[in-house]
Symmetry: D2
Subunit: 399 residues, 4 copies
Amino acid sequence: MTPDPIGVAVIGAGMVGRAHANAYRCAAGVYAADTPPPRLVAIADVYEPFAADAARRYGFRRAETDWRAVVDAPDVHAISIAVANDLHREITVAALAAGKHVLCEKPLAPTVADAEAMVAAARAAPGQVGAVGFTFRRSPAIAAIARQVGAGPLGPVRHIVGNYWCDYGHDPQRPMSWRYRGGPGSGVLADIGSHMVDLAEWLCGPTRRVGGTTMTTVVTRRPKPLGVAVGHAGGVALSNEREPVDNEDICTFTTGYADGAVGTFALSRIAYGHANSLRLDVFCERGTVSFDLTRPAEFTIADDAPDDDVNGIRTVFVGPAHPYVHGGLPMDFPTVGHGQNDFFVFQARAFLDQIAGTGDLPPCPDLAHGLHNLRVLAAITAARQDAAAATGSPVATTT
Amino acid sequence: MTPDPIGVAVIGAGMVGRAHANAYRCAAGVYAADTPPPRLVAIADVYEPFAADAARRYGFRRAETDWRAVVDAPDVHAISIAVANDLHREITVAALAAGKHVLCEKPLAPTVADAEAMVAAARAAPGQVGAVGFTFRRSPAIAAIARQVGAGPLGPVRHIVGNYWCDYGHDPQRPMSWRYRGGPGSGVLADIGSHMVDLAEWLCGPTRRVGGTTMTTVVTRRPKPLGVAVGHAGGVALSNEREPVDNEDICTFTTGYADGAVGTFALSRIAYGHANSLRLDVFCERGTVSFDLTRPAEFTIADDAPDDDVNGIRTVFVGPAHPYVHGGLPMDFPTVGHGQNDFFVFQARAFLDQIAGTGDLPPCPDLAHGLHNLRVLAAITAARQDAAAATGSPVATTT
Amino acid sequence: MTPDPIGVAVIGAGMVGRAHANAYRCAAGVYAADTPPPRLVAIADVYEPFAADAARRYGFRRAETDWRAVVDAPDVHAISIAVANDLHREITVAALAAGKHVLCEKPLAPTVADAEAMVAAARAAPGQVGAVGFTFRRSPAIAAIARQVGAGPLGPVRHIVGNYWCDYGHDPQRPMSWRYRGGPGSGVLADIGSHMVDLAEWLCGPTRRVGGTTMTTVVTRRPKPLGVAVGHAGGVALSNEREPVDNEDICTFTTGYADGAVGTFALSRIAYGHANSLRLDVFCERGTVSFDLTRPAEFTIADDAPDDDVNGIRTVFVGPAHPYVHGGLPMDFPTVGHGQNDFFVFQARAFLDQIAGTGDLPPCPDLAHGLHNLRVLAAITAARQDAAAATGSPVATTT
Amino acid sequence: MTPDPIGVAVIGAGMVGRAHANAYRCAAGVYAADTPPPRLVAIADVYEPFAADAARRYGFRRAETDWRAVVDAPDVHAISIAVANDLHREITVAALAAGKHVLCEKPLAPTVADAEAMVAAARAAPGQVGAVGFTFRRSPAIAAIARQVGAGPLGPVRHIVGNYWCDYGHDPQRPMSWRYRGGPGSGVLADIGSHMVDLAEWLCGPTRRVGGTTMTTVVTRRPKPLGVAVGHAGGVALSNEREPVDNEDICTFTTGYADGAVGTFALSRIAYGHANSLRLDVFCERGTVSFDLTRPAEFTIADDAPDDDVNGIRTVFVGPAHPYVHGGLPMDFPTVGHGQNDFFVFQARAFLDQIAGTGDLPPCPDLAHGLHNLRVLAAITAARQDAAAATGSPVATTT
């Protein structure tokens, strides 16, 4: 039976955890007004000041420092998990076992094996929602693009070019963190590439082939932090000691999809000047659509309308005619603008609706979807071409 | 004594009223976490379904259909007024007399005389906040621009070019509403020009001279609506009957400021393709800054750094280094994005802080400021040049 | 009888003169291949090295230092005049009297009286072409826009917003020149505003009313140059002595047109970061078109095609479907790009075609057109509002 | 001994041939004014009307229909070859044997073996220039970027993302031509990818590894033309008969460079809405530079100047401070604009200077460079991953 109201909690009060906390606070205001508002119960972080600040700020009743206190709490029914990847499995499995609904951040886990265990736990709890947070599916503009391609008016995708460029790792003085630990594929590929792989499959169908994977680590050692950092932001005192970075700063690869589309992907966490540039260019049978996260509330489309000397690439500002905006923003005319934090609100609303059986938003991808995503990431990593690999084609071109 | 918690209400549950309601709901989450969250008490609209929907959606305890019920309610301490302009005076004066803090939408009133009465009422209630909602002052990018000009690194403004182009009136089938009633100056000048005049004075100082005002009404008659429309959105059944539009669709004028800057302004509510394009180009002694509301989270700046072959116009995405963003958005890195609804949240926080004596945000402009704005609008209207006016310079150029 | 080949000359070998010289050299290659190529006869400049360099560079047979040598030469049939404005009258009148075809740069002359004398001279030489160089009419994108508005698919113009921002005068160390001499209206209004006034009339019809003119001079004194400068470029030694600037750095005004359109104009020669930004936004009955010279080979258009969730502002790259490009550029596909120098080539071709009676390009505007333009500039200047003027509306808004 | 003047000829009078013809006509006007202007001798095309039109248009003395007439002409000293790739070898070898200087279009030849023969012919004629036309190296903006990276202020490249998207093949009704014939790699990879591979090596150094190559052909059959088409433009009558397309519409691959940079490349000739979009994003140690051919006269740069709240991505309009512009355009201020046709002029000037031993432009890449380029293309083709290839990594992700 759906609890009423749903008691929600967030584990992790870093930058992403705050986005989840805010999302629950705002979720009641969006879409179907008769959806029961959740009760904001608890937010947890090992660093108590973060938990306390987020709890006060977003109106949660309790701040906790141990995630188990959240998982065990009888007044908590649904939990967002926004902590380091290597904790996802333990918390998710425990939460599901405790009867909670779970929305776990991406990538689902450090390894396929971990994710398999999580999926198994979800299967053992069939009445509970086990979801993974592919938040960009809640972007109104990307969702509008998804309507255009494939079965939409532009027809099947022929080629997708996906670039995701961040600069959080550009400065070698940014402190060591869990994001820089793990083997190949656990770096920029897992962190932001997981989103890109998911979006590409949304638009193109299942990945059938990957190749040409090249990974490089440019900043090979980073200073140990002497305190706790939130997000990527630094601002923390640094040790003179440096620790090795285990995973990739840059990753590029190509893909093939079941329906014949091909993909080109470039990922970087050291892209100076690009705080968070997710770009999609999607070439279809009857036109082209593009998206750039730096202008989150718009997309461009080129097709044959009108097919004459005023044909061009149209910049479309999303509004009530597009997904999520009507009822999702108080003022909702085109160009009113929104940001990534709003994506989390729409996602929270969808997650709560799934639990309550209300609403008509697309459900959150389930844990098996998150596992599938990890398997594609693993295949990309396995297709790696480096000095030691046999798959790269050396180019000898001296004349 | 500041009530704790502050009981808030919104009068008007149209598009702008909803933005206020959402803003109070979210205001507790932004900035100083120890600021007491407000109690969301009541939202009123003559059209009951609007009031009820907004109350449920944003978590207000009561929906009312008579604004007097709000003004009279002892558990309401602060009121946002977001209704047709010709009701501003009556409600504001009553609310102030009832001991409430007031945040009234712009333009403050239909006439200077109305606004003078409101200012008088505010002077008679010195312990209460009487504020006007110039929301664009809460734009992080515009506030960042304000830091650059005048006393900032770019120095005094030489020239400001302000364009505010909307398309809400472009379609002649959009129904008649209060926005299309009133004499010259009550149309696009009052509706969106009031914002532009305010922003220009923020950046350039007091207006000293206006001239060349030209106003035209292109859509001279509009169909009577048969129901209630929210915002500009139409979607309402229309009568076959048409009513005359009283005020201007387009308004353009030039200005001079006390410190020598000059201004060029173009306003339109029939600008096809421009849902809400507010553009500022501000030319200063040592550089130029520009803003375009269609990309609300960025601005451009050109100055002499670096002064060589890589000098150019920089696109700056606002982030924690700029006003409002840090603590105002859960994820707050540059390019995370935000929209106009967020401006209302920042404004609500500032209004509540003023009442509570907390925080360090700039206070809301007071009612006298709103009166001043109306006086500038009146001067612009008085400088009108049309067929009947003596001030225009006819151009006879036949050879 | 049309001479064959037409002997052409250029008077003035500064930056604009070079553009004319290059244009004649290239004109044979564009459009109707059977148009006779001109003979490149002479180029004159008081500063001999400029004349000699341009003659060598663009393949003219003679370099002269006295314009009279050009006007008197029997092998010269057509002359471009690209010198300081105060020489336009004398040279044009002499050239027409000597039986030459004349293409004179804009603005036609320093005063209306001068221009009237030039028009009279042209009337006395009815078999010769007397033309004025409104080069932006040869922009493929602007010409494409002209096809859309008025009688075109977008219908009559309602509002035109014209901004022309340069930075050639921003640096107070740039030397004094003829551009900074003359009374009000001879500064930025004459120099670049003349283009804007012309383009606006092309799109909107005759100017009927001007108002609100505000002119300011920010850089009031400039250093005397110790040598000869080409274009705006400086690079010349400067005296310690400074001379007063006589005319305006900034000019803004509003207009009304015969058919009801209104105009808003902002001109500046001290606009940091804008080397040469000519922007037009043209709002019509059925859509909006815009142009920005910094991207010279494109324009944007918004209309109702397609009228649904993919409607937006289209960026159109000019190509063979648009004016001038097909046959005007060797490779001529959309996005191949071109620049302002190409406008001069197209203009030269049109001027030569007029002389030869060939081709189907629009003819160059005649001298009477240039006179009309000056009369509008004079009316704009007369509508000036400053401390001494009675027409400005002072704004007294103290509460 | 350098002939004076140099007699020049162009073989091929299609769109690219015309660009070469125009370039020779204009080359005398750019840069060192004392460089001897060439004599425009002959232009050849098997389709006589093309040859005749181009000869008349650009002022060449003779139109020929047999390339041998050009190669054998004693008054021709330098030849541009702009015909179908499979003729490059024969003409180049013959021209070199006849003592001519040769500028051959890219890609140098259909096969590495062909190109080796051409290089051998060039080695046998050491006193003659044998060059390949990588025209984009003459882009002022790309050349400006090249100054910034590597040994420039931004330091070594870490990652290059190269997209080259055209739409000339999008319409299945466009006629069959030589561009659609040849095996894998002879399609979009050879046609436009050759440019991209060359630019990437210019910025990053020699390619050391390629991988992940995926090629697809979307339009598999095209109608036979019934006449002669120029460029990609169609406009020719079509047969009902269709012929198979032999080569790829889309090609994507990744690269590694000797100095550690990695590359991501996406090429398409069926990219709706992109007439000719060549985009480069170059991520370096100390900043990022980007270029987009649709705005050919600008580039963007992000670095740490100034490193504070006004840091951003700068849009730099090329001008006299950048390569090629000063002396290369008559009016040469920033934002004056230019297009791809100008690149050919700069290239022609460089080629003539090489022959004459004048000037200081970078020389044209030689035939060995063109051979190297082909070898990289061959390696990319060899790294192909398709249904039949063993190198692709299949992704099996079913749960």
